[in-house]
Symmetry: none
Subunit: 189 residues, 4 copies
């Protein structure tokens, strides 16, 4: 069944299939053949778009990192703490809206180099630290809050995500509110 025009589209389909499979059984237990079957193609065809099994995880990472970067870049103007609250809401909403992608995160955490999850969280922390600095300039921050809290805010989000990954009963989408309550409202002056 030869001839397909859009190589990028096919690559995308395979990646999405891979993400579904990884979400379902974890990367370690996912076979190339599973991905191919999920994508409705033959085993060998996966290799037309990806060099190796690891390259699939790498691509999943890149896709996730790109989404994160976009999210960080898309904050509209406004009071810093409001923007922070919005950021938290959006991150949680994105994770809740794409549970498959979210479930792959646990594999990205495991993967180590050349995947650079550290960079992703560094970017988050820097963005949040920037918002906190801005909030201080606006006089909106209560004393005693400094940049180290950026770590805690990222932690609150990722920690909720983690608990939900481990226990899908947990209503991830509902957790944006308490995170904001504690991490954003809790630091307002």
């Amino acid at each position: 069944m030869p001839k397909r025009v859009d190589h990028a589209a096919r690559r995308q389909e395979i990646l999405q299939a891979a993400v579904r499979v990884f979400a379902r059984k974890g990367f370690a237990s996912s076979r190339i053949e599973d991905v191919a079957a999920e994508a409705g193609i033959a085993k060998g065809s996966v290799y037309l778009s990806f060099d190796s099994r690891d390259a699939l995880l790498q691509a999943a990472f890149e896709s996730y990192a790109a989404g994160s970067a976009q999210l960080l870049a898309s904050l509209e103007p406004g009071p810093a703490l409001d923007r922070l609250a919005t950021l938290v809401r959006r991150v949680v909403a994105m994770l809740a809206a794409h549970p498959d992608h979210a479930r792959v995160l646990v594999d990205l955490w495991s993967a180590g180099p050349p995947l650079d999850m550290a960079a992703v969280y560094r970017d988050y922390r820097e963005a949040i630290a920037g918002l906190l600095r801005q909030a201080r300039e606006e006089g909106a921050l209560r004393p005693g809050i400094d940049e180290r809290h950026a770590v805690v805010i990222v932690a609150a989000i990722e920690g909720c995500l983690l608990q939900w990954l481990v226990d899908p009963e947990l209503p991830l989408a509902d957790l944006a509110a308490p995170i904001i309550e504690v991490c954003v409202e809790g630091v307002r002056s």
Copy 2:
């Protein structure tokens, strides 16, 4: 006089060797032979103490879960929020003191059933929710804080752990303070 009197002790040694190996290369890349070598015994001898490779991870989980339960059970009396702060401090200290065990967590998160990480976090949340209830009875809790914040408090801890796992530059031990600042002091009335 059998060469090895204490079967339990041998099992313990192997488990510890396994944890070191898993911490170093991840469970997925850890071979039974690696564990045996680390323990200074022969490959086949691992099977005298453990039924299978997965049983090693299971045992690592049980060991971690037991440590967590002990930590939760060991809180001395006192004002609830102080006890909460102590809990946070102790959990972070334990993780920082045993980086090998901590690094295995990412594999425990991935593992899925029959490992029940969900139960571990459920227990944490319940303990913390209990402390929050108690704090309310003590009139120490500001309004608007309810049991859902237990999730966020666990999240703050595990999220810091996660960022440290992914980026060991991050000073995990120093993060207890900001966590407490935000999650404990921040909810005080």
Copy 3:
């Protein structure tokens, strides 16, 4: 007006590309795609001229065998041993002049049926045996030389070729002289 008028010419181009590729990396490591790329056409197009990968080697063999046969047929009249010396010179010159074809020989030797390298050498031996017989009739042959020496003469040539294939430092073209010295002059009466 078809894109390609001469199917035979296209076949020839592909065969030559194949010989270059085989010479460079050996038949075993040569992919159809490599041959296609060398010929500047698409993988599938190779199959318009050749039935299979093996057919390429078969064709290379036929081309070599045809060249050999032509060489054997082209001997001008004259004293038999002079003609023999000329034959040796020409074979060596041909091999040295077409190193790519020569390098493919090692794959032809390996290939086994249906390639019939045995026939090629049989033909060489028969031609040389004929020349030796003629030389005897001419009284030019010293006693003790019989048809079995045809094998040795072929061997001297192919053995030099072999040493050159294995060690390209060896100056193949210069070896015609000592071969003739030993195998031709050495049998003169």
Copy 4:
């Protein structure tokens, strides 16, 4: 069926099985599983003694090279040309006596680095050149014969081998005599 004492012996058995298989179908068509079956063991067990399929060919080469070196080292004293004749006889006898090893040669010729067949032939040529020099000192060599004839002598042997490999009808063992006639007696003064 565990426990085998002599690892070296097992390695040797496997190597011999491999040589038989390579001789029968050529290295390119020989599967690890074929070798294992020939050795009467399981596929995976081959890897207990050899790192890879290529390592089997490498070992076959080393074995052949060692045999050649031993042959070259074992020449008893005597007139140089007699020793040369003995050498030729022994090489041919060795090849004829171990047809399996001989048939693998065609794969060794193909293999290229890190196999160094060039060195094997270089050693042969040097040994023979030494004998020719000695023969000259002994006054046994007719004029016009120099070291370049060493190439031709090696060629005569290997070329006969080659013709026999390609056409097993050819009586290899009987070819020592004509080789000596032409290459040794033919250079005697």
